[in-house]
Amino acid sequence: MNGLIKLELVRALRNRKFLFFSVMYPSVLFLIIAGNADSTEKIDGTGLTLPTYMMVSMASFGALTAVLMGNSERIAKERENGWVRQLRLTTLPGHGYVLAKTASAAVVSLPSIVVVFVVAAAVKDVRLDAWPWIALTAAIWAGSLVFAALGVAIGYLAGGDAVRPITMITYFVLSILGGLWMPTTTFPRWLQDIAKWLPTHAYAALGRAIEQSRAPAAQDIAILAVFFVLFAGGAAWLYRKDTLKA
């Protein structure tokens, strides 16, 4: 399986478009949004400055991009062109394909998180102690697994033609409504009530709790856990269905 992970990685790192959108784009977006913001003024009700707030949003957004975009489309296409079938004729265990995809996505999502942190610290003077930096990286990285599972599920749900629009819609709804691009406090009340149940909202809230040096809300952890079970269970079910059909 290591061979496949390695090759998936080589391929991902070779794909400049994918690397730009998952690794560079979140930092660029961070600079656009937080670029002119005052590094001392706090956002209402959070005690965080805009750059600090947006840093977590964009790191989460970058990780989301890395794990969701590549995998769903690749899996749908490779199911269609028969590569998944070909792999079933090898010693690779059945779940090895999905694991390799997830593992290689995780490797790409790490730099997309770290680059945002580095840019935020260097350009916008975001300062944290060593421990929150580590905790933030770990939490955002681990939390991205929820969306990796979603990417796999979409890949097994959609065909080669439908996969891109489905992924894009999911991606933008999750990013924007989840408050990764702008604080959900700017939304109308009714939209805020919907947004707070989205996994991306809970995901970013996790990071902000670390920045605020407080324990993450139980509700956010529960939301992430429920979505993880939902996405991973759905992916497993769709995978098994696909295997019987192939």
Binding site: N2, G3, L4, L7, V10, R11, R14, N15, K77, E78, E80, N81, G82, W83, V84, R85, Q86, R88, L89, T90, T91, L92, L244, A246
Partner: protein, 314 residues
């Protein structure tokens, strides 16, 4: 090493054993009560027209699809166990390749996934793809992609090699090169099973031919035997005056006859003898034509013969 022939008495566990295997899609019985055994060292052609159930048979053999009925075993175990043990190398028509990586990288992966891999450079050379090793997989022609699939199927020391219409998309010279490589594989004592709809390919390569039609095994024998069975010829000619159909029906080796107007169409299992006897009747056939049956027609001939045999209790 001399490849074993079908006449060799098979002992021990068969390489592949199908026992009353069926696979149904909706109302179509893609594979219908198939029973067969392949023995070590055989080179076997699975011959049949499109839709005969060849691909489904191979899918069942490789464990890609579960059988609805019956059992499939490979080296005495389940297909999956045989694959995990590295005993089976396979090349499917529907088998895709990983995009955006080079041929060499993909073959390296194939080797890494085999418990008894060969050297990557050897695998590339044997498949004739050393020159295109640095090319991206998605930039290959159909024939080149087939050779990459072949490389993946032979990345390690497998005992059984399964190929589904392997020469699709190859030109004549590539086809010949492919089969000479395949013969080497067989000569090393491997069992080779390939599906094809070319009678000539089966004839040239296989020492045993299985004829599949509508998911059932119609014939199982050497290529020569199958050819004799499918070797019926069509004889057609025009006669003037009254046609004595009774006398024509008595012609030797005649398998069927049709008379429309002054034209007579005959199928014969030995056209030479039939035509010779025709002249013996004292008639003067005009526009005499003798033609071989196409494979499709040969299958129909075999099918009809089989169905007639089934209808009359023996």
């Amino acid at each position: 090493m001399v490849p074993m022939t079908t006449t060799a008495v098979a002992t021990g566990t068969p390489v592949v054993a199908f026992d009353q295997v069926s696979k149904v899609y909706g109302s179509v019985r893609a594979v219908d009560g198939l029973t067969l055994a392949l023995h070590p060292g055989e080179t076997v052609a699975l011959l049949g027209p499109n839709g005969a159930g060849k691909s489904t048979t191979l899918d069942l053999l490789l464990g890609l699809k579960p059988a609805d009925n019956g059992t499939v075993s490979v080296f005495g175990t389940s297909p999956r166990e045989a694959i995990v043990a590295g005993r089976v190398g396979a090349m499917l028509q529907s088998g895709g390749l990983m995009d955006e990586v080079t041929v060499a990288e993909l073959v390296k992966l194939g080797c890494a996934l085999h418990p008894r891999p060969y050297q990557v450079s050897d695998v590339l050379a044997r498949a004739g793809i050393t020159q295109i090793a640095d090319r991206k997989v998605n930039k290959l022609s159909g024939g080149q992609a087939q050779r990459v699939r072949f490389a993946l199927a032979t990345a390690g020391d497998s005992d059984l090699i399964v190929l589904d219409e392997p020469t699709t998309g190859m030109d004549v010279s590539a086809r010949q090169a492919f089969w000479s490589t395949m013969r080497e594989q067989a000569e090393q004592g491997r069992t080779v099973l390939f599906a094809t709809h070319y009678l000539e390919e089966a004839d040239a390569i296989a020492d045993r031919v299985l004829v599949l039609h509508r998911g059932r095994l119609l014939a199982d024998g050497t290529a020569a035997e199958i050819k004799a069975k499918a070797g019926a010829r069509r004889v057609s000619f025009d006669l003037t005056g009254t046609i004595d159909e009774q006398a024509l029906r008595a012609l030797p080796f005649l398998t069927s006859i049709g008379v429309s107007g002054q034209t007579v169409r005959i199928q014969s299992s030995d056209a030479d003898a039939t035509v010779h006897a025709l002249y013996g009747l004292g008639v003067y056939p005009r526009n005499l034509e003798v033609a071989g049956l196409g494979l499709e027609q040969a299958f129909v001939a075999i099918t009809e013969a089989e169905e007639a045999k089934e209808a009359t209790p023996s």
